[in-house]
């Protein structure tokens, strides 16, 4: 990646990570948008924009398929970064320094405890929403108890993922200037990486390699 090196910048994500991130985000948001249009009859602007409820049904199903494969790919990419370590307890105890002044926050790896929690929320409730979505694709193939629970749990998973998504959106943009570019061109400033990904940066540079 030496040709991509920029002065004072650190290459944090690879292109395939960024593509998978946006496939996951895009399919998730489109599924949320079409899903809200199907769940709230009062949101008439959504079916009006997308060509009616029948079209929305298939858009929702296909965005769910894209979401499933991108969640799988994202999990493979980020699995090694999202395991909890003892230092994460200190991060959680001080809410990462976001709510009050934190003292001696241990340096995070690639992701801090909050980001790991976001991953696990999307992973666990993502699997739930995919599994229940498969049942809802044809509920007549399952016992009625199973299909009724599927509809309910699908809606529960939306509550969790949609709420976590708003936190993710805020902390990735307005809350932490310098973050969002990591998912656009992959680079963050050295200062940013020292503050947010200290352990990861030290390990990366300790190894002498440019790639994580």
């Amino acid at each position: 990646m030496s040709s991509n090196m920029r002065e004072g910048m650190v290459y944090v994500t690879t292109a395939d990570e960024r593509i998978v991130h946006w496939l996951l985000a895009g399919s998730c948001l489109f599924a949320l948008f079409t899903g809200l249009g199907l769940m709230f009859h009062s949101f008439t602007f959504i079916p009006a924009m997308l060509g009616g409820h029948y079209a929305m049904k298939w858009m929702h199903i296909f965005s769910g398929v894209v979401f499933s494969f991108s969640l799988l790919a994202a999990s493979i990419f980020w699995w090694k970064h999202v395991k909890f370590v003892p230092d994460d307890v200190k991060w959680v105890q001080q809410a990462g320094g976001y709510l009050w002044e934190a003292h001696n926050l241990p340096p995070a790896g690639m992701y801090n405890a909050g980001q790991k929690m976001f991953f696990w929320a999307v992973f666990i409730f993502g699997i739930l929403i995919i599994a229940t979505g498969i049942v809802m694709f044809d509920p007549t193939l399952f016992p009625v108890v199973v299909s009724r629970f599927a509809y309910m749990l699908h809606a529960l998973a939306v509550v969790v993922i949609a709420s976590f998504f708003v936190i993710h959106l805020y902390l990735g943009t307005f809350g932490n200037p310098g973050t969002v570019q990591i998912m656009f061109h992959g680079y963050a400033t050295r200062e940013y990486c020292e503050a947010h990904k200290g352990k990861w940066l030290a390990e990366k540079e300790g190894k002498g390699g440019e790639e994580a």
């Binding site: 409820h53 929305m56 049904k57 007549t140 509809y151 805020y170 932490n176 050295r190 200062e191």
Partner: protein, 263 residues
């Protein structure tokens, strides 16, 4: 518009299936290939379907007096007062509870998602994979709004099927049940239907096909529609409000510029 009830006096059914034929005739539903069901040999076709909206179900049961009893039950949509199917339906207009009491499906708006099928407490709606639509009994909405009785009721030769104003039919149901010592089904004061049965005396509901002894709005639908649905917006809104407050009070999390010869 007056509200109607269809009353079914099960003990009067002889299994002639005139109602099945009349239903197919009026609603222009094609016949379908059928199969022999052995001990349930009077039941034909074997199940409700996209093209069979009413079916005489045939059960041989042991009556409370120890005798074998034949039960022939006219099975079709019960037209719930607060229909679970319509509550689960994502497409406005596809399933509508009308003032007359009928729960009417409109193929024009149905998107074939099958949510109504698992929502129904009585296992009534059926779908067609080819058409991507659901279908069920509509209480002959096109007839009852024009001063006629549903096709099945008109065809019934024994008086098993009756149709009229809601209050009259409820009074009639209680009178019949009292006289015959049979049970009124469904029996749930908080989940009414515009179709009522008077069951034959001494027959247990649990011995019959496709009968729900405790009918009601499925609890999962209440959690889904009354709790998680609003909480999707409440959750997102609360978190967004919290994020905005955080930004106004604490401001963005800025990374300090590296000082000369820093630590």
């Amino acid at each position: 518009m007056a509200e109607f009830v269809k009353l079914i006096d099960v003990s009067k059914c002889t299994g002639c299936r005139g109602c099945q034929v009349a239903c197919k005739n009026w609603n222009e539903l094609p016949a379908e290939k059928t199969s022999f069901l052995g001990s349930r040999s009077l039941q034909n076709p074997p199940e409700l379907s996209y093209n069979t909206w009413t079916l005489i179900r045939f059960d041989e049961v042991n009556s409370e007096d120890g005798k074998l009893k034949w039960v022939m039950r006219h099975d079709a949509c019960l037209h719930c007062e607060t229909p679970a199917c319509a509550k689960a339906c994502p497409s406005p207009g596809a399933l509508v509870k009308t003032a007359e009491g009928a729960v009417v499906h409109d193929p024009k708006y149905c998107i074939g998602c099958k949510a109504c099928i698992s929502a129904c407490p009585f296992n009534i709606p059926r779908n067609s994979a080819a058409e991507e639509k659901m279908a069920k009994c509509s209480l002959c909405y096109d007839r009852i709004t024009n001063g006629k009785k549903p096709a099945c009721v008109t065809a019934c030769p024994t008086g098993c099927l009756d149709f009229g104003y809601k209050d009259d039919m409820i009074a009639k149901a209680h009178k019949k049940a009292e006289a015959s010592k049979g049970a009124i089904y469904p029996d749930n004061h908080s989940y009414g239907t515009n179709v009522l049965y008077v069951m034959p005396a001494g027959v247990k509901l649990t011995d019959l096909q496709n009968v729900n002894p405790k009918p009601g709005m499925p609890t999962t639908i209440l959690w889904w529609k009354n709790l998680f649905k609003p909480f999707t917006l409440i959750g997102m809104g609360a978190v967004a409000g919290f994020a905005a407050l955080h930004y106004f009070i604490k401001g963005p999390h800025l990374v300090e510029k590296k000082k000369e010869g820093g630590e």
